[in-house]
């Protein structure tokens, strides 16, 4: 039990924060408890939290992908532009996904083959794909999609759950299985821990990164299409700034920015905290600035609290032999790629 508690300190901390948030919401807003509101709570930010799952993989492996929001807009803009040119929407969706995958392939190739830092590559992607999106749809909003497409983004598909929510839950489960129950997941941690060691152990680091960035952009592209379906329209500036919110959630989930540690359970808790906080504050008419401030305070507070817990633990028991999530310290000197 004590061992379990030590291993999951971060998750316990997040669970406490989540309970606090939920308690606050219940007492503050009479409309909070209800199936509709729980669906809304996810649905209003669903595109972001879908990308959170793949971003977890990227950061665990010691990389970063700043381009996700721009790729969302790029993929949606490809869809919009093709739709404008009377291409059947199903084909347009496929093309949009391929366009997103292509973007990811380019990122992955630059990182894996050219050895460029992912921070630089995806920063270029952030600017480039946003620019490409704006070129495609210009300063307009492109709408008028067939009814089935709009309904896909807005209506319930299974029970009270719209498609995007199902996609999110499927991704979380798949992400958990791959990360924690598969050889591929262990490889990711090793790469994030120390890419050189991974390479000498016979891991094909380059190919893994290529796949990672391609999947990241493809999922971002799919999220962009879902976003278009939810709003019924596409604009070049859509999803602007989402990448930072996504990364914030992943870090709050206890994934180390240096790679090599973090768990899907923590990330899921972080998603729930941020969504419940935004929802509850929204219902209490608290402005977005305050919401962001509180989320920031929670992030910093969690890191500090974790730090303190570890510090006290060390004083009592001597150095800890395991590394809690979110507190991972790479060996010195770090040879891991990425930021």
């Amino acid at each position: 039990m004590a061992e379990w508690a030590r291993r999951y300190t971060w998750e316990l901390l997040l669970a406490v924060i989540l309970l606090g948030t939920v308690a606050f919401n219940i007492s503050e807003s009479s409309g909070y408890l209800g199936i509709d509101n729980f669906v809304n709570l996810f649905q209003l930010h669903i595109e972001k939290v879908i990308v959170v799952v793949t971003m977890t993989f990227i950061i665990v492996s010691g990389e970063i992908d700043l381009s996700v929001a721009s790729v969302m807009a790029w993929s949606a803009s490809v869809l919009a532009s093709l739709h404008e040119h009377d291409v059947p929407l199903v084909l347009a969706i496929v093309a949009a996904l391929l366009a997103a995958a292509g973007a990811g392939l380019i990122h992955g190739w630059c990182v894996a083959r050219l050895g460029l830092p992912s921070l630089v590559v995806t920063l270029a992607g952030l600017i480039g794909w946003r620019g490409a999106a704006r070129v495609l749809v210009e300063d307009r909003s492109v709408g008028d999609y067939p009814g089935w497409f709009d309904r896909l983004g807005q209506d319930d598909l299974v029970g009270p759950l719209p498609l995007a929510l199902l996609v999110f839950f499927a991704l979380v489960v798949a992400g958990w299985v791959i990360l924690h129950r598969s050889a591929a997941g262990r490889v990711l941690y090793v790469i994030g821990d120390n890419a050189e060691v991974a390479r000498y152990s016979g891991v094909n680091v380059g190919r893994t990164r290529l796949v990672l960035f391609t999947v990241s952009s493809t999922v971002a592209g799919a999220a962009g299409i879902l976003f278009a379906a939810r709003l019924g329209t596409v604009r070049g500036d859509m999803a602007n700034g989402f990448e930072l919110e996504v990364i914030t959630i992943v870090l709050l989930g206890g994934v180390s920015i240096f790679g090599g540690s973090g768990r899907m359970s923590g990330v899921l808790l972080a998603v729930l905290i941020v969504l419940n906080l935004r929802n509850g504050f929204g219902l209490a008419n608290v402005g977005g600035n305050t919401q962001t401030g509180v989320i920031g305070a929670i992030l910093i507070g969690s890191v500090l609290a974790q730090n303190l817990i570890q510090w006290f633990g060390e004083r009592r028991r001597g150095p800890v032999t395991h590394v809690p999530a979110g507190m991972y310290v790479p060996p010195e000197p770090s040879t891991a790629g990425g930021p």
């Binding site: 019924g232 402005g287 962001t292 509180v294 500090l304």
Partner: protein
């Protein structure tokens, strides 16, 4: 070593959060203008513990006497009226003025003020969707929205209408008319084109010349309707000397509008006039021309706030501009929303209602849209150096 690493992580996190905040910059102003006292619903159940976090930015929420109406409490006694007033974004003077008008109306009607909430950015249509969706969950009686985009908000507004909430659009309508009961038009949108064309002729004289439009966001329903109306009017012979050479978008952001104005004069050396049908755009364009010392060659006109435009009108950068009263607009909107929500009148063609000091209004079909009902407030006031002070 461990500590330094952790510190680095914290700093990185801080930087991320700070960067994330950038997006939401002006939200703070909404908190100051929002009548925080009306947030008192907490007073009914657990006043102290639950109030703690919001109390930091809304100190008077905790001081609010428990007797205050609890507008966003769904299970309040019958007859209570709760509503939200949703501007395109917060931190823009005219929307604050509209809220003043709405507060005045609420006072006269003896009901709770509307919650004045909105996204920080005027291009944030998902932000508006979120506020509308949350308002449905809150169970408000009325939603008053100035739509900051096209039809993106439509599904959310339709859900609100289905939940029995009176949805009144003001300032900027929902183009399809779906989900909204009524649009409170500030002026006749078709008249806006004529007013702008007349100002252009009066500034440029008989010779006319090239002019460009600096608008808000590319899919802002009201601005697009006005631009369409202007383009239509330009076809008439009396305006043939005016040549519209470009339309650019500053997204109702002062910096962006300023840069777009400068880009316009670079792109069009013969440009004589920038017409900005948005209060943010006109002020930014006038400042850009003033800063560049171009006021003699490139004039600025459009829709502006006298308070913000006075100096530019007096120094000749923006000799003429037009506007209506946003205080009155908020006032009429609140009366309309309250009347609809309480069943005082129904939203159908020919129905009439009285909006306090503004008098009687008759609902008509909106000729500027394919569907939808409207009332027209009016009138336009054209400002120049004789009446701007």
């Amino acid at each position: 070593m461990k500590l330094t690493r952790t510190t680095a992580a914290v700093v990185a996190a801080l930087a991320l959060v700070a960067a994330g905040c950038g997006d939401d910059d002006e939200e703070g102003s909404s908190d100051t203008t929002a009548p925080s006292a009306s947030e008192a619903p907490a007073a009914t159940d657990a006043p102290d513990a639950t109030d703690a976090p919001p109390a930091t930015d809304a100190p008077d929420a905790t001081d609010a006497p428990p007797a205050t109406d609890a507008p966003d409490s769904t299970d309040g006694p019958a007859g209570e009226f709760s509503s939200i007033l949703l501007p395109k974004c917060t931190g823009i003077a005219v929307f604050d003025q509209a809220n003043e008008g709405a507060i005045e109306a609420a006072g006269e009607l003896g009901v709770a003020e509307a919650e004045f909430v909105g996204p920080a950015s005027c291009t944030d249509s998902t932000g508006q969707v979120e506020f509308v969706t949350n308002a449905v969950t809150q169970g408000v009686n009325a939603i008053m929205v100035s739509n900051n985009a096209g039809d993106q908000i439509e599904p959310a507004v339709e859900a609100a209408a289905e939940a029995g909430i009176a949805v009144v659009s003001w300032d900027s309508p929902i183009p399809s008319g779906a989900g909204e009961s009524l649009f409170v038009a500030q002026v006749d949108f078709d008249e806006t084109g004529t007013v702008m064309a007349d100002m252009a002729v009066s500034i440029l004289g008989e010779a006319g010349g090239e002019f460009a439009i600096l608008s808000a966001s590319p899919d802002a329903a009201n601005q697009n309707a006005w631009i369409a109306s202007l383009e239509e009017v330009l076809a008439e012979p009396e305006y043939e000397s005016l040549q519209l050479v470009d339309t650019v978008y500053g997204n109702d952001d002062a910096d962006e509008s300023y840069n777009q104005a400068l880009a316009l004069i670079d792109a069009h050396p013969d440009l004589k006039l920038i017409m900005a049908p948005t209060t943010v755009g006109i002020a930014a364009a006038a400042k850009a021309m003033q800063d560049e010392g171009l006021c003699e060659t490139v004039k600025v006109s459009g829709l502006g706030l006298p308070d913000e435009m006075r100096s530019y009108t007096e120094n000749g950068c923006a000799p003429q501009f037009a506007l209506w009263s946003f205080v009155d607009l908020g006032y009429v909107t609140f009366y309309a929303a309250h009347g609809l929500a309480t069943g005082e009148f129904v939203a159908e063609e020919g129905a009439t209602f009285t909006a306090g000091r503004m008098g009687d209004y008759t609902i008509e079909t909106d000729p500027t849209r394919d569907a939808g009902l409207r009332i027209v407030m009016g009138p336009f006031t054209v400002y120049d150096e004789t009446n701007v002070g």
